[in-house]
């Protein structure tokens, strides 16, 4: 009997899983289950959008940075985020989706980005808190993703991790400096940490038992570690760093677990998490409005680039014709 198409798919899926289990890397032209491709497009485009939308809360402070040293650092960081978005769009395009489609979905509000960027940056200290906490959390996540089973994604992550270490340190330096400043500066630093701490813990996603995609993604080694494992790793890194700055973390239940040799922390408000994911955070509408405006205002640049190329081509053609 001839094998049916579904027999063939099942066979391919078994072979695919065997490659994953053997620790092989999947490359763009390899066979992959449609669902693997879809999940990666979803993850990578969301990741790319997060880099791009992530420029907005910090970009807000470039013109008001307190010194030239702070300004060049912040400018370079925001420029990096744009570059990281491009690495990720490029890597996602290897799965057969175009950057235009992905950006359209972002601007239409269909595709998501990290909810952390739906919180406002109220003071200069928030720029420090984002660098230290948000980039710190992103590095923990991305260091894990550098070992993901999809080759182009893993390579983009390696590149990004190497660059983001400076983001975390510039944030730490900003906060540590404020923490040693006047009482007002100290209070400003503490207030920023108080506001950013819990949303940062939410960045790792819902707890493992409530995460709709986790089991599948871990089975394919798209995510080699779970949300809760990564969250714990981040907390264990952040607690002594906060202490080093002389700042506290807004969690009365935070305490050292000698047996497990890790920091125990309080309960995360998952209702807030889902509320912001669903679009009702403080800044959801504002961020999309800003992103659409930037896209529209950049149109003339894209058109000028095309006009230049058309002119160049016409000149070259005329030369040949002569």
């Amino acid at each position: 009997m001839e094998p049916t198409p579904s027999d063939k798919t099942a066979e391919s899926e078994i072979a695919f899983q065997a490659r994953i289990d053997a620790g092989e890397t999947i490359e763009p032209r390899d066979w992959m289950p449609e669902r693997y491709r879809k999940q990666l497009v979803r993850m990578m485009s969301q990741h790319a959008h997060s880099e791009v939308v992530g420029m907005l809360p910090e970009g807000n402070w470039i013109t008001r940075a307190p010194s030239l040293r702070r300004k060049i650092g912040l400018l370079a960081k925001v420029q990096d985020e744009a570059g990281h978005g491009l690495y990720l769009y490029g890597a996602a395009e290897t799965l057969g989706v175009s950057r235009d489609e992905m950006i359209d979905q972002l601007l239409a509000g269909v595709s998501k980005y990290s909810s952390i960027f739906n919180y406002p940056t109220l003071t200069w200290a928030d720029v420090g808190a984002i660098g230290w906490l948000v980039d710190g959390a992103a590095i923990v996540n991305q260091t894990m993703l550098a070992k993901t089973s999809y080759g182009p994604y893993a390579r983009a992550m390696l590149r990004i991790c190497a660059e983001e270490n400076f983001h975390k340190r510039q944030g730490f330096e900003i906060l540590a400096t404020l923490a040693q400043g006047t009482p007002e500066q100290r209070a400003m630093a503490q207030d920023a940490v108080n506001r950013w701490w819990w949303p940062t813990l939410m960045m790792f996603g819902p707890p493992d038992e409530a995460s709709p995609h986790s089991a599948e993604l871990m089975g394919w080694k798209v995510k080699p570690k779970s949300n809760d494992e990564l969250r714990q790793r981040f907390v264990d890194l952040a607690v002594p760093q906060a202490k080093a700055m002389g700042l506290t973390l807004p969690d009365p239940e935070l305490r050292w677990d000698e047996e497990k040799r890790q920091w125990r922390f309080g309960t995360i408000d998952w209702q807030e998490f889902w509320r912001v994911v669903r679009g009702d955070g403080q800044m959801n509408r504002e961020r999309l409005r800003e992103r659409r405006r930037a896209h529209d205002e950049g149109r003339w640049v894209r058109e000028a680039a095309e006009a230049h190329e058309a002119k160049r081509r016409a000149r070259a053609a005329a030369k040949i014709g002569r």
Binding site: D80, G90, E93, E163, A305, E306, E309
Partner: protein, 100 residues
């Protein structure tokens, strides 16, 4: 969504190769969109060489690259598997002879 006149899907995709220091090989870094080769080079610099760790950049239109397919991986490379005589270990050298 308003239809943009300048959509980058119409811009070719370019593969970027970076040589990190003189004498090293150019290594694939990723890809970028650009309307022409000059801008492809500039975009590649802005995206893949922001830390000064680049001695040279190549951009190649992705469509100009011909590659092996995963399906013919085995038959395509197979002829090289049994040519052990292309490795130095295939040749016998008397004990005690050095520098070979």
């Amino acid at each position: 969504m308003s239809e943009s006149a300048a959509r980058d899907a119409d811009w070719p995709l370019w593969e970027v190769f970076v040589q990190e220091e003189g004498g090293a090989a150019h290594v694939h870094a990723g890809s970028i969109h650009a309307p022409d080769r000059e801008m492809a080079l500039q975009n590649a610099r802005d995206v893949y060489a922001r830390r000064g760790r680049a001695a040279s950049l190549w951009v190649v239109e992705s469509s100009a690259i011909t590659a092996t397919t995963p399906a013919d991986r085995a038959p395509f490379f197979e002829p090289a598997f049994d040519k052990i005589y292309r490795h130095p270990q295939f040749y016998k050298v008397p004990r005690g002879v050095r520098g070979l």
